[in-house]
C-alpha cells in the first residue's frame, strides 16, 4: 500500500514541474497561489471526516457485485 501511494507521488511531482516550466508569468503564479489557498481550505474542511473511522470506511465497503 505505501508503494502505490509513493507511485502516485512521483508522477504527481513530475506534473508539477511541468506546470512551473510552462507558466512563470506573474498572473499565472498569482492564480496558482489562489488555487493553493482554495485547495488548503478544501483539505481543512475534510480533515476530520478523513480521520473518522478510516479503516472501517475503507475495508467495510463490501457489495456482492451487480449489473
Amino acid at each position: 500500500m505505501p508503494q502505490e501511494f509513493s507511485r502516485l507521488s512521483s508522477s504527481a511531482r513530475s506534473g508539477q514541474e511541468q506546470t512551473e516550466e510552462d507558466t512563470g508569468t506573474a498572473g499565472a503564479s498569482a492564480r496558482a497561489r489562489t488555487q493553493d489557498t482554495s485547495l488548503d481550505s478544501v483539505l481543512d474542511d475534510i480533515e476530520s471526516t478523513l480521520e473518522d473511522n478510516a479503516e472501517e470506511y475503507v475495508k467495510g465497503f463490501v457489495q456482492k457485485g451487480g449489473e
Partner: protein, 473 residues
C-alpha cells in the same frame, strides 16, 4: 461530406446508476443488504415492492447484489438526462438519511450510512453506470464495435472518475473490470457495449444501445459531456450508414479493446500506443483528435440538427478540445475543476503534501463518491474548485417533474395522479395500467410521443374522478 436529407437526429438518452452502500460507526455489524433494505423500507411499506416508478418518470429499484439503482426517465437531450440523474442522486441521499435514523435505533447514534456513486468496492466487486442511447436499427453491430468502441475506450481521458488501484492512481474506475467489447450478457461476462435487444420502442426502427464501460461521474459537466460527445459520434455513424458508407472515422478498430481500456486508464498523457486490428498503433489522444475533428465537421454541416441543443453544441466542442489540449501539454491540473479524475488527483496530491498515509488516501478516494456522508466533492464546489451546470432549484423540481419532451411526461403525470388514489395501478417503460371502473391500458411505444391521446385522457379522467371521491378538497 454529403448529407442525407431529412434524417431524424433526435435521440433518447437515459442513465442507470447502481450505487454502493455501507455503514460505519455502528455498535455491531450491518451488511450492504441491511443498509439497502433500510433505505427502501418506507417505499416497500407504501408500494409493497422494491421496484418503483416515480412521478418524475424514473425507475427506482433494488438490484442484484443489494445495489440501490436509479434509472432516469427518457430524456431528449444530454442536459435533461443530467438533471434527471442529479435528481436520482438526491433521492438516494434522502433515502440514506431515512435509513440512518432507522438503523441508529439498533446500532446507536454513531451509525452513519454511506452511499457511493462509484464503481468498485473494497474487494474488487464492480458495478455500473449504464448509458442508454436509442439507435437507428440500420446501424450494424459490427460498426458499433469498429467505429464506436474505440471512442468509448479512449474517452476516459476526460470521463474517468479516477481510482487508487493496486498499482497506483488510474483514470478509470471500470477499466480493470471489463471483458469483451460487444456482447448480449451483463452479469457473467462484462462487455463494454451490451446488445441485449430491448429497445422499449418500435423494434423495426430502433435498437437500444446499452453502454456499460463508463464510470459513474460526480462532475455534472462530465456526465453531460460524455452523453453529448457519444451522441455526436453515434449521429455521424447513423448518417454514414444511411448514406451507404461505413467508416466515418477511418480504420480505428482496436485489436484488444479490453487491454486498450486498461492501458489508457494508466496513462494520463494519452500517449501510450494501442494496437489496431488492421495493424499498426495509435494513441488515445490521436484517436480522440480524430473523433473531435469529424464531429466538428459534422456540427458545422448540420448545425442545430444534432439534437444536443444550441448553444450547448458549441460548448461540447470547446470543452472536449480543452481536455485534449491540456493532456497533450501534460497539464492535467488545468482540468481539475471539471474532470473527476483530475479533481481527485489534486486532492490526493494535497493530502500527500500534508503527510497523509495510504489509508487516508484510500478514504479520500471513496469519500469523493459518497453522496450521503462524503465531504470532499461538496467542499470543492463550495470553494469554487469544481464547476457545476445545474442549480439546486432545477434539481429539486426534477424530483417531481418528468422531462416534458418524451413519453416520460405521460408516465410521470400518470404516477403522480395514481398515487393519490386508492385504485390499483401499475406501469413500466412502455405501458400504463389502471384498474378503475374499467380496466385502462395505455401503450407508449414511441418514446418521443409526449402528447395525450384519447385513451390516455380517458384514463386520467377516471383518476381525477376517483381522486375527487377519495380526497374531496
Amino acid at each position: 461530406m454529403d448529407r442525407a436529407p431529412g434524417i431524424d437526429h433526435r435521440r433518447i438518452f437515459g442513465i442507470e446508476t447502481e450505487y454502493g452502500v455501507s455503514l460505519t460507526g455502528g455498535d455491531g455489524d450491518c451488511s450492504a443488504g441491511q443498509v439497502a433494505m433500510a433505505m427502501f423500507r418506507s417505499l416497500v411499506e407504501r408500494n409493497r415492492s422494491t421496484n418503483i416508478y416515480l412521478s418524475n418518470g424514473a425507475r427506482l429499484y433494488l438490484d442484484v447484489g443489494s445495489h440501490p439503482e436509479y434509472a432516469t426517465a427518457e430524456a431528449l437531450t444530454p442536459m435533461d438526462a443530467l438533471i434527471q440523474d442529479l435528481a436520482g442522486e438526491r433521492i438516494m441521499a434522502n433515502l440514506a438519511r431515512q435509513a440512518g435514523s432507522i438503523l441508529a435505533d439498533r446500532l446507536g447514534p454513531g451509525a452513519r450510512v454511506h452511499v457511493f456513486k462509484n464503481n468498485v468496492d473494497a474487494r474488487g466487486h464492480s458495478f455500473g453506470c449504464h448509458e442508454n442511447y436509442l439507435l437507428r436499427r440500420q446501424v450494424p453491430l459490427e460498426m458499433v464495435r469498429g467505429q464506436l468502441v474505440p471512442f468509448l475506450v479512449t474517452r476516459q481521458l476526460f470521463t474517468g472518475a479516477g481510482r487508487l488501484g493496486e498499482d497506483g492512481f488510474q483514470l478509470s474506475q471500470r477499466a480493470d473490470f471489463l471483458d469483451e467489447a460487444v456482447s448480449s450478457a451483463t452479469t457473467r461476462a462484462r462487455p463494454m457495449v451490451n446488445t441485449r435487444d430491448e429497445p422499449h420502442a418500435d423494434p423495426d426502427r430502433y435498437r437500444r444501445l446499452h453502454v456499460i464501460l463508463g464510470d459513474s461521474n460526480r462532475s455534472q459537466t462530465v456526465t453531460w459531456l460524455k452523453l453529448a460527445t457519444t451522441h455526436l459520434v453515434l449521429g455521424l455513424i447513423e448518417e454514414e450508414v444511411l448514406a451507404g458508407r461505413s467508416i466515418p472515422f477511418g480504420d480505428c478498430a482496436l485489436a484488444d479493446p479490453g487491454a486498450a481500456m486498461r492501458s489508457v486508464s494508466r496513462d494520463r498523457n494519452g500517449r501510450v500506443p494501442l494496437d489496431l486490428e488492421g495493424g499498426g498503433t495509435v494513441s488515445a489522444l490521436d484517436l480522440q483528435n480524430r473523433y473531435w475533428e469529424a464531429c466538428r465537421a459534422y456540427i458545422d454541416d448540420s448545425g442545430d440538427q444534432t439534437g444536443v441543443g444550441i448553444p450547448m453544441v458549441g460548448k461540447v466542442l470547446v470543452l472536449w478540445r480543452a481536455a485534449l489540449d491540456a493532456l497533450d501539454a501534460g497539464r492535467w491540473e488545468d482540468l481539475a475543476d471539471w474532470v473527476d479524475w483530475a479533481a481527485k488527483l489534486r486532492l490526493l496530491k494535497g493530502e500527500e503534501a500534508r503527510g497523509a498515509d495510504p489509508l487516508k488516501a484510500r478514504r479520500l478516494d471513496l469519500d469523493y463518491h459518497d453522496i450521503a456522508s462524503g465531504r470532499s466533492y461538496g467542499a470543492l464546489v463550495r470553494h469554487g474548485m469544481m464547476r457545476t451546470l445545474v442549480d439546486d432549484h432545477r434539481i429539486g423540481e426534477a424530483l417531481r417533474t418528468p422531462p416534458q419532451t418524451t413519453r416520460a411526461r405521460l408516465r410521470g403525470n400518470f404516477v403522480a395522479r395514481a398515487e393519490t388514489t386508492p385504485l390499483q395501478w401499475s406501469c413500466d417503460w412502455t405501458r400504463l395500467v389502471l384498474q378503475g371502473n374499467h380496466r385502462h391500458e395505455v401503450r407508449l411505444m414511441d418514446p418521443f410521443a409526449h402528447e395525450s391521446d384519447e385513451a390516455y385522457l380517458a384514463m386520467m379522467g377516471e383518476l381525477a374522478q376517483d381522486r375527487a371521491v377519495f380526497d374531496p378538497v
